[in-house]
C-alpha cells in the first residue's frame, strides 16, 4: 500500500492525501450524483428569503418544538452519562468493548426506527434512540480518558483497593474536568440528534422543519433554524449546573406520552421471530441461502457501495472546504474583526445537522448523492475548520511567532497550513466514521444509500430485511473505524512531533493524544 518515508513527514501525509484523492476520483465514477432538472435557483431564492426574513408569529409552536428537542437530549444524556461511566469502568472486559462498538455503530435514527416498531412514536422511542448509542460512546471515550490519567494517584490507596472505591477516589476526581468537558460537547451533539429524530416522526425540531419545508413555508422554517442555532450557540449561558435538576423535571413534563400498545411479549416476539427471515425460521436451509444471497445482491451490496462512494467524496470535499474556511476564522489571516464573520459562518455550519442541510439541498438538486455529499462536507468542514482556526489563534504570540513571519496568502501557504495540517488530517479521520454513519442514514431522505433500503424495509414491515441491512451498516462502520484509527495513528505521530524548537524531536508515549475536549468525534 503506502510506503512511508521515514525521512520526511510531509511525504507520508502527501501519500495519505493522494490516496484520499484517488479514492474520491474512483467514487466519482460510481456515485449517483445526477442533478435532476428542477429549477434550483428559483427555489433557492425563496428559501434564502425565508432564512433572511424568518416568521416568528407561531411562537408557541416554536417553543414547543425547541422544548421537546431539549427535553429528549437532556434526559437521554442524563441517563447515558452514568450508564457510560459504569461501562467505562468495565471497559477492560472484551465483551463490553464489543457490545459498545456494536451499539455505537448504529446511528440514532436507525435505533429510532427499531424502537418505533416496539414503542410507537413516543417518549421511550426517542429516549432510547439517543441513550443507547450515546452511552456506548461515553463508555469508550470515558475509558480512554481514564487511561490517559497519570498512574501515581492510583498507587496511593494500595493494590487491594479496587473497583468503585478506586474509581471514586482516584480516577474520577482526577479526570473530572475532561469528563465534564466531553459531556458538555456531547450534549450539543445530542441536541442535533434529538432535532433530526423529527425526520422519522418524533415531535422534535426536525419534524416541524420537514413539515414547514414540504409546505413551502420557508419563513417558518427559517425561524425554526435560527432558533435552533441560537439555542446551540448559547448553551453555556443557559445550561447552568445548578439549573439542571429543574431542567430535568421540566423535560420529564415536556416529553410526549408513550402510547401503551407495547408489552414485554411484543418485544420478545420482535427479537425471536420478526427479525429473522421466514425460511430460516422454517429450517429451510436452501431457502435461507437464497434469501440471503438475493438480499445481498439486490440491497446490501448496492447500498453499501453507494454509502461508501458518497462517504469518500464527502471526506475529500470536507478536507477541501476546511482549507477554504479555516483562514476566515483565524486572527492571523482574517484579522481581529473580520474573523468574527468567519466564526459566525463556521458556527452556522457546525450547528446545523447534516440531515437538515441534506433535506434543503434535496429540494434543490433532486434525490441524488450530490445533496448528501454537499451536506456532509458543509457540516463537517464547519466543525473541523473551527478547531483548526482555534489552534491557529492559540499559537498567536507563542514562542513560535517571529516578527518577520510572512503575511497574507503566503502566510497561509508557507506557515499556517503546514503547521495545522497534521492535526487537520487527524480530525478528518476522526470524522470519517461519523461521515460514513451519516451518509448511510441520508438514505431516509431518498438517496440510495443503506438507509434508503432500511427505511423501505421498515415501511414494508419487513423487519428481517431491516435487521440484516442494519447489521451490514454496523459491520461496515466498525471496519472503517478500525482503519481510521490506524491512519490517525500515522497522522498523529507527526502531529505530536510538536515544534521541538531547537531540541531534537522528543519521544512521546502513544497514550498522549490531542486534548480530548476538542475531539470532534461521533457528532
Amino acid at each position: 500500500m503506502l510506503s512511508f518515508d521515514r525521512r520526511s513527514s510531509v511525504r507520508t501525509l502527501n501519500g495519505v492525501c493522494l490516496l484520499l484523492l484517488l479514492l474520491a476520483l474512483l467514487a466519482l465514477f460510481g456515485a449517483d450524483l445526477q442533478v435532476y432538472p428542477v429549477d434550483p435557483w428559483h427555489e433557492l431564492g425563496r428559501i434564502g428569503r425565508g432564512l433572511l426574513l424568518p416568521a416568528w408569529d407561531d411562537f408557541p409552536l416554536l417553543l414547543q418544538a425547541l422544548g421537546q428537542t431539549v427535553a429528549f437530549a437532556l434526559l437521554a444524556v442524563a441517563l447515558a452519562v452514568p450508564l457510560g461511566l459504569v461501562l467505562a469502568m468495565l471497559f477492560h472486559w472484551r465483551g463490553v468493548r464489543y457490545l459498545c462498538a456494536a451499539v455505537r455503530s448504529v446511528h440514532e435514527l436507525f435505533w429510532g426506527l427499531i424502537f418505533m416498531q416496539l414503542y410507537g412514536l413516543g417518549a421511550l422511542t426517542g429516549l432510547l434512540a439517543i441513550l443507547l448509542p450515546f452511552a456506548a460512546t461515553f463508555a469508550k471515550v470515558f475509558a480512554e480518558i481514564f487511561e490517559q490519567q497519570a498512574p501515581e494517584p492510583g498507587l496511593a490507596p494500595g493494590p487491594r483497593v479496587r473497583g468503585l472505591k478506586r474509581y471514586g477516589y482516584t480516577l474520577i476526581p482526577q479526570a473530572w474536568p475532561a469528563l465534564l468537558s466531553y459531556t458538555r460537547y456531547r450534549f450539543e451533539c445530542a441536541l442535533r440528534s434529538s432535532a433530526i429524530l423529527g425526520f422519522i416522526g418524533l415531535p422534535t425540531l426536525g419534524f416541524h422543519l420537514e413539515t414547514a419545508f414540504k409546505q413551502g413555508q420557508y419563513s417558518a422554517a427559517g425561524a425554526l433554524l435560527w432558533a435552533f442555532l441560537l439555542l446551540i450557540a448559547t448553551i453555556r449561558y443557559w445550561l447552568r449546573p445548578r439549573l439542571i435538576p429543574l431542567y430535568l423535571l421540566l423535560a420529564l413534563w415536556l416529553l410526549p406520552q408513550t402510547p401503551g400498545f407495547s408489552n414485554g411479549g411484543y418485544l420478545w416476539r420482535f427479537i425471536s421471530v420478526d427479525i429473522w427471515p421466514a425460511p430460516l425460521r422454517a429450517g429451510d436451509w436452501s431457502g435461507t441461502l437464497a434469501w440471503y444471497s438475493q438480499m445481498f445482491t439486490e440491497q446490501v451490496w448496492p447500498g453499501l457501495v453507494q454509502t461508501l462512494l458518497l462517504t469518500q467524496l464527502a471526506l475529500l470535499l470536507t478536507g477541501a472546504l476546511i482549507l477554504l474556511f479555516y483562514p476566515l476564522a483565524t486572527r492571523a489571516l482574517a484579522g481581529p474583526w473580520l474573523r468574527w464573520g468567519g466564526r459566525f459562518l463556521l458556527l452556522v455550519l457546525r450547528s446545523t445537522p447534516e440531515m437538515i442541510f441534506a433535506f434543503v439541498l434535496l429540494l434543490l438538486f433532486g434525490p441524488s448523492g450530490l445533496p448528501a455529499v454537499l451536506a456532509l462536507a458543509l457540516h463537517n468542514s464547519g466543525l473541523i475548520a473551527f478547531l483548526v482556526a482555534n489552534a491557529s489563534d492559540a499559537e498567536q504570540g507563542s514562542r513560535l511567532t517571529r516578527p518577520d513571519d510572512p503575511r497574507g496568502l503566503l502566510r497561509y501557504a508557507y506557515l499556517e497550513t503546514p503547521r495545522r495540517f497534521p492535526a487537520l488530517l487527524a480530525f478528518l479521520f476522526y470524522r470519517w466514521e461519523v461521515i460514513l454513519r451519516e451518509s448511510a442514514i441520508m438514505g431516509i431522505l431518498g438517496i440510495a444509500t443503506l438507509g434508503f433500503f432500511i427505511d423501505s424495509a421498515f415501511e414494508e414491515i419487513r423487519y428481517d430485511r431491516a435487521m440484516l441491512l442494519i447489521a451490514a451498516t454496523a459491520v461496515l462502520n466498525i471496519l472503517v473505524d478500525s482503519l481510521s484509527r490506524r491512519l490517525r495513528a500515522l497522522a498523529r505521530t507527526d502531529a505530536q512531533r510538536q515544534p521541538g524548537l531547537i531540541d531534537p524531536p522528543q519521544k512521546r508515549s502513544p497514550k498522549q493524544t490531542m486534548t480530548r475536549n476538542t475531539e470532534p468525534q461521533n457528532g
Binding site: 525521512r7 520526511s8 510531509v10 517571529r402 508557507y414 503546514p418 512531533r497 524548537l501 531547537i502 524531536p505
Partner: protein, 242 residues
C-alpha cells in the same frame, strides 16, 4: 573623519511584560559596520533587546530568533526559501511549494553546501536534529540577504568548531551584526564590541580588546556566589543590579 551612520539608537528604553520589568533604562547606539556581541545570564533581557532592535530596522535586518520559528512540515529547502519570500512574486512563491523554482533551487543548494545541509535539504525539518534545525534557520536568515544580522543564540546547538565557522560566515555575509551568545570565547574572538546585560540593564559596554574571558566570567560569577543562588534556584530575579 565622519562616523558611519547610526542604525540603532535606544535612549532610556524600558520594557515590561505585565508587572515584570525585562529591560530597564537601556542606552545603546549601534552604527553601521559594528559587530556587537550580547552577553549575560539567561533571563537578562537579551532576546527582548534584540526584538526592540529588530523593530527599528525591520526592513534591513535578517533575524534569527531563539525559537527559530521553523515550519515543521516543510522541507529544509522551503524553510530557507521563506527568508527570500519578498524577492519573489506571490504566484511564483506558491508554485515553489509544488515545484522548487530553478533559480531559488540553485541559490539554496549552494547555501546548503556551505551550511553542510546538502543531504537534509529535502527532508521535512521535524525529522532533523537540533543542530541541523539551527543551521536551517541560519540558512533562512542568510537567504534574507540583508546588511544587518540580528541573531539570538544562533549557534547554541552546534559543536564549538562548527559554531566558530558558522559565526565567521554570518559575519562575513552581513555588514552589521548584533548577536547574543552564551559562549564568551566566541564573542571575544569574533566581535569588536561586547555588551553585557544583567537583570534587564546594561552593565558593560566596551571594546572586546579591553575584556578577557575572566573579566566576563565575573559578570556571571557574581550570581553564583550570591547567597540566594546556592539554594539551587535559577539565576533570574535574584541578581543585584550592577
Amino acid at each position: 573623519m565622519t562616523q558611519p551612520p547610526v542604525l540603532f539608537r535606544l535612549q532610556g528604553q524600558s520594557l515590561s511584560y505585565g508587572d515584570r520589568p525585562v529591560l530597564r533604562d537601556i542606552h545603546l547606539t549601534i552604527r553601521q559596520g559594528e559587530r556587537v556581541a550580547l552577553l549575560g545570564p539567561s533571563g537578562a533581557g537579551k532576546s527582548s533587546l534584540l526584538t526592540l532592535l529588530y523593530g527599528q530596522q525591520a526592513a534591513l535586518s535578517a533575524l534569527y530568533p531563539q525559537s527559530a520559528g521553523l515550519v515543521d512540515l516543510l522541507s529544509a529547502y522551503q524553510n530557507i526559501f521563506v527568508g527570500g519570500l519578498e524577492r519573489f512574486g506571490t504566484l511564483a512563491a506558491l508554485w515553489n511549494l509544488v515545484r522548487p523554482l530553478p533559480q531559488a533551487r540553485r541559490e539554496i543548494e549552494a547555501l546548503a553546501q556551505t551550511l553542510g545541509l546538502e543531504d537534509q535539504l529535502w527532508q521535512s525539518v521535524d525529522r532533523l536534529s537540533g543542530g541541523q534545525r539551527q543551521r536551517v534557520a541560519i540558512g533562512r536568515a542568510l537567504y534574507r540577504r540583508q546588511p544587518i544580522f540580528l541573531g539570538d543564540e544562533p549557534v547554541s546547538a552546534v559543536d564549538p568548531l562548527q559554531a566558530q565557522l558558522l559565526l565567521e560566515h554570518l559575519l562575513a555575509q552581513h555588514e552589521t551584526a548584533v548577536v547574543s551568545l552564551h559562549n564568551r570565547q566566541l564573542a571575544l574572538d569574533n566581535f569588536q564590541r561586547i555588551v553585557v546585560l544583567r537583570d534587564g540593564a546594561i552593565c558593560c559596554d566596551c571594546p572586546a580588546s579591553e575584556l578577557s574571558e575572566q573579566a566576563l566570567d565575573s559578570f556571571y560569577a557574581e550570581e553564583l556566589s550570591a547567597p540566594e543562588a546556592s539554594a539551587d534556584v535559577g539565576p533570574q530575579g535574584m541578581i543585584p543590579s550592577c
